[in-house]
């Protein structure tokens, strides 16, 4: 088991290494990173002096090694727009994104589990059908469209909720609802499907034959095994949650990491973009490692 986890950790490090290369070399796609990073109206002399200041005139592998060394110590260079270290800009924005993402994660997994279990236990009833339709819709509607729709209905038409900003609980409602919708739908569908499958297994029949209560069978025997596929895909859903956070923050003017990244891309502030991409990759690798640990704990077969 320790061996399995060590291998996974090693793979995670490799992934980060690769992402750092992608992030670094993407600036060289047009051949001249100095021209890419400078504003379009910069003169040739300005670009040349900037190129020298950034070290872009040195051999590319030396530049990459230096970038890697700096990234390991958290130095991504200064933001050209804010004249501040990119990392400190990033760190300032993390609490806002964490608040949004955790709220979305909390309501969507809680309700996802509850509705998934209800749908599985009452398979093919009217309730089940309703839940299936809702979760199908939840996965089909783009985050940004749902967000805008809620703004139209709840802010513009009825003035119930504020459409932007952060600070009060009311301002958290719509962003977290629209961000969690996809996740909620995905969890509901997955819990329903895997619980239905688990309830059809032999060990559930055995448990029933032993005369255990239906509650105990569902929770102790079926649900525990139904959790395995749910946990496995958490890592992949987490990536889509981060992508969704980016869009949600733009729509609701939420001052988080996603908005920082998009604004940095739009203003060609590439040191900030590099820092954000590497940070989200790091977060992703850590979350996936935690998922691996949970997977080992849930599935005794790997522990051998």
């Amino acid at each position: 088991m320790l061996r399995y986890l060590l291998i996974r950790a090693g793979q995670g490090l490799l992934v980060l290494f690769g992402v750092s290369a992608i992030v670094f070399f993407s600036l060289f796609l047009t051949g001249d990173p100095a021209a890419v990073m400078m504003p379009p109206d910069a003169t040739t002399a300005e670009i040349a002096s900037f190129r020298h200041a950034m070290g872009f005139d040195q051999p590319i592998w030396i530049q990459y090694l230096r970038f890697l060394g700096h990234a390991l110590t958290g130095h991504f260079g200064d933001s050209l727009r804010y004249q501040q270290p990119a990392l400190s800009l990033l760190l300032q924005r993390i609490p806002a994104t964490a608040l949004l993402a955790l709220t979305a994660l909390a309501w969507s997994s809680l309700f996802g589990f509850v509705f998934g279990i209800i749908a599985a236990l009452r398979q093919n009833s009217a309730l089940d059908l309703t839940i299936r339709v809702v979760s199908l819709l939840g996965q089909a509607v783009p985050v940004f469209w749902l967000g805008l729709l809620m703004i139209i209905v709840f802010s513009l038409r009825h003035h119930w909720l504020p459409s932007s900003g952060m600070g009060t609980a009311a301002q958290l409602v719509m962003p977290s609802l629209s961000l969690g919708a996809y996740y909620f739908a995905a969890i509901t569908r997955l819990v329903r499907a895997s619980l239905i499958e688990a309830l059809g297994q032999d060990y559930v029949r055995t448990a029933r034959a032993k005369g255990l209560s239906e509650w105990r069978i569902t929770v102790r025997h079926a649900l525990r095994n139904a959790l395995i596929p749910v946990v496995t895909v958490q890592g992949m859903y987490f990536a889509s949650l981060m992508g969704g956070a980016l869009i949600t923050e733009i729509i609701f003017a939420w001052p988080g990491v996603g908005r920082l990244a998009v604004e940095a891309i739009q203003t060609r502030d590439f040191t900030v973009v590099q820092a954000t991409v590497l940070f989200s990759a790091l977060l992703f690798v850590v979350v996936n490692f935690l998922v691996d640990i949970a997977y080992v704990w849930l599935n005794p077969r790997i522990r051998l």
Partner: protein, 271 residues
């Protein structure tokens, strides 16, 4: 569940009908507007023309723009997903068949792809190389091959142990010939189903990039671009946001239902 299939077909007919028939036969210009006809609500007349979905801030007919926008977005998505599928299938087969360090290398690349929030990477690359139609297709295409590679590899691992592959090896056929002649036909069906299941992701991704203004540039309409533009006028003209979003939802629901149906029909639980 035949009902799923029927719903999927109806939605697909509506979507494809709009994106094929409207650009071909609808008389109003999707790019040039009439200034006397700005912000007309749906089903209103202006200048002797009916605007079934209303008009936008430049007096352009929304139905004409939605038709062309859907065609362009779907075109991008289809070409990009074929690129992903071909790339992923070839790499996955190679990884599964040859094993060893080739396998390890390709699978680490897969992990890497799954580890970056796609949208950030795509935005970064598009910002560097510029948001043209071609660039968008290439970037979406080469960032989405990971899941195809995973499935192709798993299938190849199963198939290569079968007896007829062994006999092909025994009579001295070349490895590449075996891969494309004997292994590939076995994984075509799951890969096609996977493509259907992956389309919704790409549709939403393309729309998100367009929404953020880094997709195909205006005045050319795309599904996401329409919503992004309409967002500024939500207070006075919510139809500009409403209908493009409904189109995206219809496409995604149709692909999801169709994909699930194909999975059940072909008994492909592992997808």
């Amino acid at each position: 569940m035949q009902a799923d299939l029927i719903v999927a077909c109806i939605l697909l007919v509506v979507a494809f009908g709009t994106c094929i028939l409207v650009p071909l036969f609808w008389p109003l210009d999707p790019v040039r507007g009439v200034f006397s006809a700005t912000f007309k609500p749906p089903m209103s007349f202006a200048g002797g023309h009916l605007h079934p979905l209303g008009t936008d801030q430049l007096g352009r007919d929304l139905l004409a723009r939605l038709g062309l926008g859907t065609a362009i977005s779907l075109g991008i998505v289809f070409v990009a997903s074929v690129i992903s599928a071909v790339l992923g299938t070839v790499l996955g087969m190679i990884a599964g068949y040859f094993g060893g360090w080739v396998d390890a290398l390709i699978m680490r690349l897969v992990d890497m792809q799954l580890a970056i929030p796609f949208i950030l990477l795509i935005l970064l690359i598009v910002a560097v190389i510029g948001p043209s139609l071609m660039n968008l297709i290439v970037v979406l295409g080469i960032t989405g091959w990971a899941i195809y590679a995973r499935v192709a590899r798993a299938r190849t691992l199963e198939v290569r142990e079968l007896e007829y592959i062994e006999s092909a090896r025994a009579i001295g056929q070349r490895k590449l010939f075996i891969l494309f002649r004997h292994v590939l036909p076995n994984i075509l069906v799951p890969q096609t189903v996977l493509l259907t299941l992956d389309l919704p992701r790409l549709i939403i991704l393309e729309a998100s990039v367009g929404f953020l203004g880094l997709g195909v540039q205006p005045p050319t309409p795309t599904l996401g671009g329409l919503i992004g533009e309409g967002r500024s006028f939500m207070l006075i003209a919510n139809w500009l946001v409403l209908y493009p979003g409904l189109m995206i939802a219809a496409l995604v629901i149709a692909c999801n239902l169709l994909g699930d149906w194909l999975v059940r029909r072909n008994d492909l639980r592992e997808l």
